[in-house]
């Protein structure tokens, strides 16, 4: 008789501690997990070593697999289930996946950094193999047959003529053991479930009106809240006239604490109306923001902490110099952030689309001053994601409102304007290249400097939650941190993968930040790859070399060479016919210099009169190590390319001295169907048996540079400031024509 996982939990004590209470290393947010003590276990088994924290097999044969990572529509739930089915040798459909829940799943920190397959996929692959081995050994013992003569298949262990089901073989807590460092993995050349483009598990509900998102959660007695945010960042509440609003239909409660204001009503539209009315009856003391137009000069004037992250040979002053900039940009999920919370029997439960339920739980517990065992965070899908958006903040909103109304489930959804103005932005950045060519036509010297604010202000601490910052006794944000190399934050991908004899790369971390910033998909890699790959084209032109051939001259990594060649070939690089206003662009990077390899070729048509840019065909090649679900990888690369085209052609946060002005889709336009490519072809190169390499953020940097390179090829003029707006394109085309 085995004890169920839930019973283990109920007993408390050391068994639970091993996976639920492990503290989150501060810098686990965008990768860079702290080194554990003890033997190195595969993937997230390091932090959660018990096999039954990952895999539970009931007596009736039901198999449940637990992951601390969250489904964001990136398809990770499906891919992880494929991994588990493969190594457990059971049909895919036999497995039920449970994703991030602070009372059920391992703590895997944040789902970010394109680390899910590396962390959770590797853990589940090995845990499943070790569980299978335990079951085979148990069958061998019971049948009196050597394990080598047994085969595991379809949820049972078979000998000649006899078999015992997995359910029968799980006994006496034999899966409640520590993982080993080594696993007997199956032969990767004989994959059955992995490597197949299985249909995603989350899609049917999404296309039929099922409960697919936290937004769709409706609990009995649930009420609705909306917040009233300050007039601008740093503004303080001077006065609030709540009387008339309290008497509005359906209004249950106005929650006010310092600069924090929210209103709870019986029905959703009543809450919306009441919040609007309340907003009209508040007066704020504004705080000043630096000038939008000169933000990069302002940032570079702030104190910076410099780190030399590459120092090789003796780089010279360079014959080529260029400066690249990106503005603040939004995650801009189509559905504003949402959460549901309920305070009942001294316990707070929060349904959230946070990327990190455990860090969020810790932050909420600190904010509401409750023991963290009394706070339960359950992940449900949200809209979009793309990094640290409003998901955690709105969970704090829901928690504060639920605390004010014990017993009642409270649903909070942000408004569009709130999402646009208050989500943490992707940081503005600047970088400078100085390089020179050798007589041979190779780059002999490379200097690169990049300036950036932090790319990670995720919770873990209450001070990183927007509502907690607004309270009368505010929680103070943690001091901004730079994410160290090799993953890096602002300096992510600042070191080129190209072989250059003399090179120096300096990361300038600016702690003080005029606007709140955090992780936006690919972090600093977006600007760094844009800068490096734009420079590669400019240097190729100086060397009178073809841009693809010029890149290949500087690459030694065979997998990098393979994706560059594949993308060029599938695009038809050598046969492309340039015409005025119609150019081609190429770019390559290996994300973080340690995750997926991605190369992109694309064509752009530019109207020189209007500066309007349209993207034609796009061809990409990606190597993510072993491809578990090739269609999932294609979807991520496609999406990353299209999203990056939008960032690169259209997007910039704007503000006046006292408020953010880019508050909706009219004032922060993104690409519509007219401006997405004609076609996107993604070629996946798989290496069965080799480590999983993160994919979700591999294409954004290369796509941005490919756009700039294609536009430069079309108009003969170079734009180094993102976004490549029609005004900038028109000006560059005009300057080029005049030259």
């Amino acid at each position: 008789m085995r004890q169920s996982r839930r019973e283990f939990l109920a007993t408390g004590g050391a068994l639970v501690v091993s996976f639920t209470l492990a503290p989150l290393p501060a810098l686990a947010q965008e990768g860079g997990h702290a080194a554990p003590t003890g033997p190195k276990l595969p993937g997230s088994l390091t932090r959660n070593p018990m096999l039954d924290a990952w895999i539970r097999i009931d007596a009736n044969g039901a198999i449940t697999v637990f992951t601390g990572k969250v489904e964001l529509g990136q398809g990770v739930k499906t891919a992880l289930q494929q991994v588990a089915a493969e190594e457990l040798v059971v049909p895919f459909e036999r497995i039920t996946m449970v994703t991030a829940d602070t009372e059920r799943t391992p703590n895997e920190g944040i789902t970010s950094g394109s680390n899910s397959m590396k962390d959770s996929g590797t853990a589940i692959l090995n845990a499943a193999a070790q569980v299978r081995a335990i079951l085979v050994d148990e069958a061998a013992r019971r049948l009196g047959v050597p394990a080598a003569q047994l085969t595991a298949r379809d949820g049972a262990v078979h000998a000649s003529g006899r078999s015992i089901t997995y359910g029968d073989l799980v006994a006496g807590g034999n899966l409640h053991v520590n993982a080993a460092a080594e696993s007997k993995l199956l032969d990767p050349s004989r994959r059955v479930v992995m490597g197949r483009a299985l249909a995603r598990l989350d899609i049917p509900a999404k296309v039929t009106g099922g409960v697919a998102y936290v937004h769709d959660l409706r609990l009995d007695g649930m009420v609705h809240a909306r917040t009233v945010r300050p007039a601008g960042p740093g503004a303080r509440l001077r006065s609030l006239d709540a009387g008339a609003v309290e008497r509005m239909p359906g209004v249950i409660k106005i929650v006010r604490d310092g600069n924090y204001v929210a209103v709870v009503a019986a029905r959703e539209f009543q809450a919306i109306r009441a919040a609007r009315a309340l907003g009209d009856r508040t007066a704020w003391e504004p705080a000043a923001l630096p000038q939008d137009a000169s933000i990069h000069a302002h940032l570079l004037g702030l104190p910076a902490r410099d780190s030399v992250i590459l120092d090789r040979g003796s780089p010279d002053a360079g014959t080529f110099a260029a400066t690249y900039r990106r503005p603040y940009q939004l995650h801009g999920a189509i559905g504003p952030s949402c959460a549901v919370a309920q305070m009942r029997d001294g316990k707070l439960t929060v349904w959230t689309h946070s990327q990190g339920v455990y860090p969020l739980r810790d932050a909420l517990a600190e904010m509401v001053r409750m023991p963290r065992e009394k706070v339960h965070c359950v992940h449900m899908e949200g809209s979009g994601c793309y990094g640290h958006n409003g998901a955690d903040d709105v969970a704090a909103d829901a928690a504060l409102c639920a605390l004010a109304l014990p017993g009642r489930p409270v649903r909070v959804q942000w408004t569009r304007e709130e999402e646009h103005a208050w989500e943490p932005f992707g940081p503005a950045m600047e970088s400078r290249v100085r390089a020179s060519l050798e007589a041979s036509g190779r780059i002999g010297s490379w200097r690169y400097d990049v300036w950036s604010n932090t790319h990670s202000t995720r919770p873990g601490k209450a001070g990183n939650l927007l509502p907690a910052m607004l309270l009368a006794t505010p929680f103070i944000p943690e001091p901004p941190r730079a994410i160290p190399q090799p993953e890096g934050g602002g300096d992510r991908n600042a070191i080129p993968l190209y072989v250059i004899p003399n090179a120096r790369v300096v990361s300038h971390f600016i702690a003080s930040s005029p606007l709140r910033t955090s992780a936006l998909r690919s972090l600093g890699a977006y600007l760094n790859v844009f800068a490096i790959e734009s420079s590669m084209d400019e240097l190729a032109a100086a060397a009178r070399a073809d841009p693809v051939e010029f890149r290949l001259r500087h690459l030694e990594d065979q997998r990098a060479i393979a994706v560059v060649k594949a993308a060029a070939e599938r695009f038809g690089w050598t046969s492309f016919e340039r015409r005025r206003g119609h150019g081609r662009g190429f770019a390559f990077a290996r994300y973080k210099n340690l995750a997926a390899y991605c190369a992109i070729a694309m064509e752009a048509r530019v109207d020189p009169e209007t500066g309007d840019v349209r993207i034609g065909r796009v061809a990409a090649a990606v190597d993510s190590g072993e491809a578990v679900n090739p269609d999932g990888i294609r979807n991520q690369i496609e999406g990353g390319i299209v999203q990056s085209i939008s960032w690169t052609l259209f997007e910039a946060v704007t503000w006046e001295p006292q408020r953010i002005t880019s508050r909706d889709w009219a004032r922060y336009p993104i690409a519509r169907f007219s401006h997405v490519p004609e076609s996107v072809d993604v070629h996946v190169i798989s290496h069965p048996g080799s480590p999983f390499l993160g994919t979700g953020e591999a294409s954004q940097g290369p796509a941005a540079a490919a756009v700039a390179n294609a536009v430069a090829d079309a108009i003969g003029g170079r734009i180094r400031d993102i976004p490549l707006t029609p005004g900038r394109v028109h000006a560059a085309a005009g300057a080029s024509a005049a030259a």
Binding site: A205, G209, G332, I334, G335, S383, G639, Q643, I645, V676
Partner: protein, 157 residues
Amino acid sequence: MIELRVNGRVHRVDADPQTPLLYVLRDDLGLNAAKFGCGLGQCGACTVMADGEAIYSCITPVSAIGTRAIRTVEGLGTVDAPGPVQRAFMEHQAAQCGYCIPGMMMRAQALLERDPGASAAQIRQALQPNLCRCGTHMRILKAVARAAELMGRGGKT
């Protein structure tokens, strides 16, 4: 009480007449598909059909619907018996987060009912009001073209 025809059924709802249709669909009728995106008619996540026409349910007061028949994604089919647009989106795995997809599907349904032979260019143009942030556009375009094919074979619902 307001009488509302939704997916072939008549509902009587007790809502303030100014309430946008979206909240009545979601909160009073428990229909999840139509989504709140902007409340401004800028993104199309809330798109539903009213007498065959795609409308923004987030800015249409429920009192303005009158006798028009409302159709949402729930009215297109189910997981077990999906309509052609749903089937096409599943076949092409045309979603990432998927939040914009019901709005895309209803705009596509409205287009294909009006013009089952819509060209690729017409499909792209018809979807212009709807935003997607995950960059799933290429799959959405393929799925709608596939839905047109499926409807053309008599699968029209």
